[in-house]
């Protein structure tokens, strides 16, 4: 009480000022390199903005995208990547985590490390080696499938297989973090819960559905949101392996943004694409939060 009374107003003010000084560097960089570019991106999307022109055109960029066949194709590919890739990442991660979380610490960290390897490695190294593995003539994959009598396939060169070949690599680079999180979450489930259920003769399936799954919900939410956001932004794999080809069969929205801005010089149109992507990701994140977040409490 006495201490509180002694806290006079100027003292308070001085504390605020110190707090703001501590906050200032981070805030300044944030405003300059994150907040401002975001607003500028929205602004730019209403302009015909190329190397030679800067002219206000209202919603024309958005109209162009609405009618652009290649953009539709990129959007469709992105959705395919998310709808196929994200569930594989989640199921695979939970499966691995369930298998290794009760093992000895050294075994656990060995597997955690192995599955996180592709995530720490530069995407360039990953694509260089996968490009070789997938090569129609010199690749290991065709050699292996050839042993079983399959015809050689140009995995990245054919519209039918290219996107799935990339999805496979994307999955290997995405599971590291989820596995670490699931192992941590499973480790936090009190062993007594599971033992009690076992004494009551609950089947492993029941234990998973009634105890483990609900306890994993907060982690699920985080992993699904993060994986979805990252998959939506898939770019480097595509730029390095196929440049969106053949005939836009592997182009994603993010690759489209890159192509429009840095190859064709249409900065306005590229910004509009970025905004559309951000809005879609925002809506999906909100839906995921609403849908999965309701029973996060336990």
């Amino acid at each position: 009480m006495i201490a509180a009374a002694r806290k006079s107003r100027p003292r308070f003010k001085r504390e605020w000022i110190t707090s703001y000084i501590f906050l200032l560097p981070a805030l300044a960089f944030f405003i300059m390199f994150v907040a401002y570019p975001m607003l500028r991106g929205i602004y730019m999307s209403f302009f015909d903005y190329t190397l030679t022109s800067f002219e206000f055109i209202g919603f024309d960029n958005y109209r162009t995208l609405y009618e652009d066949k290649n953009f539709h194709k990129s959007m469709w590919n992105t959705i395919k990547l998310v709808v196929v890739g994200v569930p594989i990442v989640i199921i695979f991660s939970i499966f691995v985590a369930m298998t290794i979380y009760k093992k000895h610490e050294s075994v656990r960290s060995l597997f955690r490390g192995i599955f996180y390897l592709p995530a720490v490695t530069s995407v360039v190294s990953v694509t260089v080696v996968w490009g070789w593995i997938y090569h129609p003539n010199y690749g290991v994959l065709n050699y292996l499938t050839g042993i079983f009598g399959a015809e050689p396939i140009s995995w990245l060169g054919e519209p039918k297989t290219a996107l799935w070949a990339i999805t496979a690599i994307l999955v290997t680079t995405s599971v590291g973090q989820p596995i670490i999180l699931y192992v941590a979450a499973l480790g936090n489930i009190p062993i007594s819960y599971i033992e009690a259920a076992q004494i009551d003769r609950a089947t492993p399936g029941q234990i998973f559905r009634k105890i483990i799954w609900p306890m994993l919900m907060p982690t699920n939410l985080y992993v699904i949101v993060i994986t979805t956001i990252n998959t939506f932004q898939c770019f480097s794999l595509i730029q390095l392996l196929t440049s969106g080809g053949p005939i836009y069969s592997t182009s994603t929205v993010m690759y489209g943004v890159y192509e429009q801005a840095f190859q064709f010089g249409n900065f306005g149109l590229a910004s509009a694409m970025g905004i559309v992507l951000a809005v879609i990701i925002g809506i999906i994140s909100i839906i995921q939060f609403k849908f999965l977040g309701s029973d996060v409490e336990y």
Partner: protein, 273 residues
């Protein structure tokens, strides 16, 4: 029933081991490929183990400015790492432990920005850097990453675990804010700072998209970017490309193996709601 469970457990372990082999194989292929001549690398059936390892690929690789690229990668990553640790720890600390007007709004804005896709701002960021004349400079490569609020968020999460009593006691003893931050808070934040440092280094080293659009000249390229551009020249000379791929990932892999614990901690900490 018990036997079924044991069989199931063994089967899932075998599946996990098989998956692990698939995950490790590309790295095995990079390392061994780096010591194969082109005729060996493109031979079918493949030579699973390099029987006559050669150094030719490395000689060819070093005809490119890989020394400069390596320097660039290290310089940019270390600078980003140091800057982020500094600004994130001070900001995270006051957001967690101090009362001041606007605190809640600032934190909410930072969190909301983190949920937005980072790459979406790259086009406007590029035009902005172009206006500043920062394209193809170290400034352009380093500064934008410092604005990303993940570090602030991580340090705020961790600062909340610091007992308020310690800070109060220091204040009563007449310790200034700056001194109590430097001599009390920083030592307590060390584990989290370690995790953040490693995480930032990795993100920066592997931030291919930003490096691709901000870099113009061969001398300013980072190591991964330089290796990527070599693909045009060496195409199916896989030995040389694997040597490059090995070089581009060895620093990260070494750090990862040495500090796996800090990595794991950083990831788990950053995920706390």
């Amino acid at each position: 029933m018990l036997r079924n469970i044991t069989v199931g457990k063994a089967a899932s372990m075998i599946l996990v081991i098989l998956a692990a082999v698939v995950f490790v194989f590309p790295f095995y292929w990079i390392i061994t490929g780096a010591f194969k001549l082109q005729v060996v690398a493109t031979a079918i059936p493949p030579e699973w183990f390099p029987l006559r390892p050669v150094m030719d690929n490395w000689v060819t690789l070093f005809k490119n400015p890989v020394g400069r690229w390596t320097f660039n990668s290290f310089f940019v990553s270390v600078a980003e790492m140091a800057a982020i640790c500094l600004v994130a720890s001070t900001a995270g600390f006051v957001l967690a432990k101090k009362e001041f007007p606007g605190r809640k709004i600032i934190f909410t804005v930072l969190i909301a920005a983190m949920a937005l896709p980072k790459q979406v701002i790259l086009v406007p960021l590029f035009t902005m850097l172009a206006d500043l004349g920062w394209i193809n400079t170290y400034k352009g490569l380093i500064f934008p990453a410092i604005g990303w609020p993940f570090g602030v968020f991580l340090m705020k999460q961790f600062s909340q675990t610091i007992p308020t009593e310690i800070l109060e006691a220091a204040k009563i003893d007449g310790c200034s804010e700056v001194r109590s931050f430097a001599s009390i808070v920083i030592p307590l934040l060390k584990p989290a700072l370690g995790a953040l440092a490693i995480f930032t280094f990795m993100t920066s080293w592997n931030d291919y998209f930003s490096q691709l659009i901000i870099t113009r000249s061969t001398e300013m390229m980072t190591l991964p970017l330089g290796i990527a551009t070599m693909q045009g020249e060496y195409k199916t000379d896989y030995g040389v490309m694997m040597a490059g791929a090995a070089l581009a990932s060895v620093p990260m892999l070494t750090i990862f193996i040495l500090f796996q614990k800090a990595f794991t901690q950083g990831i788990t900490l950053g995920a706390v709601k």
